[in-house]
């Protein structure tokens, strides 16, 4: 078996919001976008072992060993002070997983699971690991019927998508904005690749869901919604659209000064999409 290892922020054995059915979700550390609105900002950075988090840990669960951060999960009481202290938005509590580790977890929880979803961070940043993991799942008889999904920002290049899709059943793709300068303001990157990824995925029949985050005054305006509708029409009106509402939970920094997206605004946007003939529009079941 491959020796590829992944840097994992967290694993959930129960999730009903990361694809169809109940899923094992592997949150991989590190993202190539730097979204102000991110609700998991501690998954963006990758630890550089500076050690600034060590004094913040009152449980003495962190230390430096041979120049690298060492984390003791038994001592940790999950206060998250280290995450607050981290100067680069990383997480010193990440753990390394091999493909065999993940397969063992799947076996343990198999009767409860419809499949696995890799999320993040941006999971395609650890492309080698997820490709090999999915390939391993798809080649084993014991995992027959077990689906492999990716939750992505779409920044992965076209050639790499082609490779990954061979072992992938579906992708939840986020489009953060249609106006490119707005996209750059929100994420730090152009949206060109993400839009292209949506086309590749749709053509391959693997675009499970297109996600659009509504942020008041930024992405909920006429121009953005019209471009969303045009884009969906250019793909096909059967695309499942998930409208997400910007909230403050988990958010850090300047985006905390932005308004939260109200339910009424989300419902209005959903109505516009439906009126344009896009029938499969999903809105949040919970607003916090």
């Amino acid at each position: 078996m491959s020796s590829a290892r992944a840097t994992v922020s967290k694993i959930l054995t129960y999730s009903c919001v990361d694809g169809p059915g109940n899923r094992l979700v592997v949150f991989l550390q590190g993202c190539n976008f730097n979204c102000s609105a991110c609700h998991n900002p501690h998954t963006i950075g990758v630890c550089n072992h500076c050690g600034d988090c060590i004094p913040a840990c009152h449980a003495a669960a962190l230390s430096l060993e041979d120049g690298e951060i060492s984390f003791d999960p038994v001592a940790c009481d999950m206060c998250d002070a280290c995450i607050e202290a981290c100067p680069i938005g990383a997480n010193p509590m990440v753990r390394q997983y091999s493909i065999a580790n993940i397969l063992d977890l799947i076996r343990k929880h198999r009767p409860f699971l419809s499949g696995i979803t890799v999320s993040g961070g941006e999971p395609t940043q650890q492309l080698k690991f997820i490709s090999e993991l999915f390939q391993a799942i798809k080649s084993e008889q014991e995992f027959s019927g077990f689906s492999c999904f990716v939750d992505s920002n779409g920044h992965l290049g076209a050639a790499n998508w082609e490779k990954l899709l061979r072992f992938t059943d579906g992708v939840m793709l986020d489009i953060k904005g249609f106006d490119d300068s707005l996209h750059e303001e929100l994420t730090g990157k152009s949206n060109e690749r993400s839009l292209h990824a949506a086309r590749i995925l749709y053509a391959a029949g693997k675009l499970y869901e297109l996600r659009f985050l509504l942020i008041p005054g930024k992405t909920d305006n006429d121009a953005e919604l019209n471009r969303l509708i045009e884009f969906v029409e250019s793909l096909g009106k059967d695309v499942r659209i998930k409208l997400n509402a910007f909230q403050h939970h988990g958010v850090k920094g300047k985006a905390l000064d932005w308004e939260k997206m109200p339910q009424a605004g989300v419902e209005m946007a959903a109505e516009r999409l439906r009126a344009a003939g896009i029938q499969n529009v999903v809105t949040p079941s919970v607003y916090i």
């Binding site: 999730s15 919001v17 979700v25 929880h109 988990g250 916090i288």
Partner: protein, 511 residues
């Protein structure tokens, strides 16, 4: 006497109770003026200290706690005593059942079992089209909730996929009534994927039905069948349970020096006390009450020798944690492998002891172990073998931690999984959880969806809006709301933790 007069006066003048509810409480008080069935000194002491308890069944058990008539008898033969002819049409069949229910006693004074309704009504459905069937079931359901307003009352359907079961699921999800409670029997060999999907979608709508692992129950009972009643008790049809006495494992653990003392001496002692308490009550019921002279026996709805004794236990979580403390181990019940293994060992010992202890006038000659879902005034004692409110791990880990207990609790074990409402967009996840739970040995699968108005409290259903109204002293039409309001005030039951709130990735390591 002054004390009792004051209490009776309080009941008769209560602002929140209806006349019928007052009559019920007055009758209970009257019964309890009689002396308790004579107990030996040690049993009396255990009862006084609340190590064992009879769940306030009353001092003179003149009726079994749970009665599960075989309603197919009255539908096939009519009833001489009730002067009912054999029903021929669906209307007549439903009418016969509506009458029959009023003659079936139980601890609450209302029937706890409404029968395997699809099996009972299907023979009357030829020539009845879907719309007519829907209209009739809807009226039937409304009647049940309005005239027998007790959420302990339970209808059963399944395991086959049939018109009546589908219509009942549809009507139940539509009306969202507290009563009746509903269990769907699921058998992967017999039930279709579609009916399981309808059932799990209904859970999303109204936290009902409760889903029973049919093959597992079939193995426990006989060809006459079983029913699920009240707080998820599995009992023989054409019989029931004479009594339910329960043992507080927490109190037993507190009286032990440590693990060895618990298993070798203290647990066997108090287990015996709980057997004796049950025996005394059964003796009164069988030898003095004249209950079995009833037409229910004469006409074959029930049989005298098909009544079991439910041997209840609760507060497993506290018991394990107390023993862990006494042994100097930090691991907590529900989270730590060693603590969980200790819990499983306790369940095994309980089951073996119950199986081996002969009892007179009890179905198969011995009691049946039951993980008891709690009373509304239990304080710091978690129902059955559940993980304490507000501290449960995620639903998958919850199920995996508790699954090994289920094999031992033949007369039922209720595990309430609380799921947050994000599951509403993903009913397939509910179905997968149900299948997962059964594949690892769960007897029953019960879910609360956190935002639902209709919720299970210690095992019965109440409406949150009813609790709110009751607390504002407006009174409630349904009897269980009073219990629910008490439960909510005393045991923080509504704080049961909804899980997986919109799945924001929480940074902390661990579960």
């Amino acid at each position: 006497m002054q004390e009792i007069t004051r209490k009776l006066h309080e009941i008769t003048t209560d602002k929140t109770l209806s006349p019928a509810q007052k009559a019920h409480y007055l009758a209970l008080e009257a019964e309890n003026l009689l002396p308790y069935p004579a107990l030996d000194a040690k049993t009396q002491q255990a009862l006084d200290e609340r190590v064992i308890c009879d769940l306030y069944e009353g001092h003179a058990p003149y009726k079994p706690r749970y009665v599960l008539p075989d309603y197919s008898i009255v539908l096939k033969q009519g009833s001489e005593y009730l002067e009912l002819p054999v029903p021929e049409t669906l209307d007549e069949a439903i009418n016969t059942l509506m009458i029959a229910y009023h003659h079936v006693p139980s601890v609450t004074g209302m029937p706890v079992y409404l029968g395997q309704l699809d099996e009972l009504l299907l023979p009357f459905c030829d020539g009845v089209d879907d719309q007519e069937l829907y209209n009739r079931i809807k009226l039937f359901w409304r009647y049940l909730d309005r005239t027998l307003p007790d959420a302990f009352m339970h209808a059963n359907i399944g395991p086959t996929d049939n018109r009546v079961a589908r219509t009942i699921l549809r009507v139940d999800a539509e009306l969202k009534q507290t009563a009746p409670n509903l269990t769907f029997f699921y058998d992967p060999q017999v039930s279709t994927e579609q009916i399981l999907a309808i059932a799990t979608n209904s859970i999303v709508e109204c936290s009902k039905p409760h889903i029973a692992n049919h093959p597992m129950h079939v193995e426990t009972f006989d060809e006459r069948g079983y029913g699920i009643v009240s707080c998820y008790n599995a009992l023989p049809v054409a019989g029931g349970s004479s009594t339910l006495t329960r043992l507080s494992l927490k109190e037993v653990a507190l009286r032990s020096k440590g693990e060895a003392d618990f298993f070798d001496s203290v647990l066997p002692h108090y287990m015996e006390m709980n057997f004796r308490l049950a025996e005394n009550r059964i003796d009164f019921l069988f030898n003095e009450s004249n209950f079995f002279e009833s037409f229910l026996v004469a006409e074959g709805w029930i049989e005298r020798d098909r009544f079991t004794a439910m041997y209840g236990i609760y507060a497993m979580a506290e018991a394990v944690n107390v023993l862990q403390d006494k042994e100097g181990r930090a691991g907590r019940y529900g989270f730590d492998d060693l603590a969980n293994a200790l819990g499983h060992r306790i369940s095994r010992v309980l089951a073996e002891t119950v199986e081996q202890r002969p009892m007179k006038n009890v179905w198969r000659g011995h009691a049946m172990l039951h993980a008891q879902a709690g009373l509304s005034n239990d304080v710091q004692a978690t129902p059955g073998v559940r993980i304490p409110y507000g501290t449960e791990p995620d639903p998958v880990m919850h199920i995996q931690a508790l699954a090994p207990h289920h094999q031992y609790y033949e007369s039922g074990i209720s595990e309430i999984l609380t799921l947050d409402e994000t599951i509403k967009d993903n009913p397939e996840a509910m179905q997968q959880l149900c299948k997962g739970a059964f594949s690892c040995g769960f007897r029953e699968f019960t879910v609360n969806v956190a935002s639902n108005d209709l919720v299970r409290v210690t095992g019965f259903m109440v409406r949150l809006s009813d609790i709110k109204k009751f607390n504002e002293a407006k009174g409630s039409r349904t009897n269980t709301t009073a219990l629910g309001a008490e439960a909510a005030d005393i045991v923080n039951i509504l704080e049961r933790k909804p899980r997986v709130m919109s799945h924001e990735l929480r940074p902390g390591y661990g579960q």
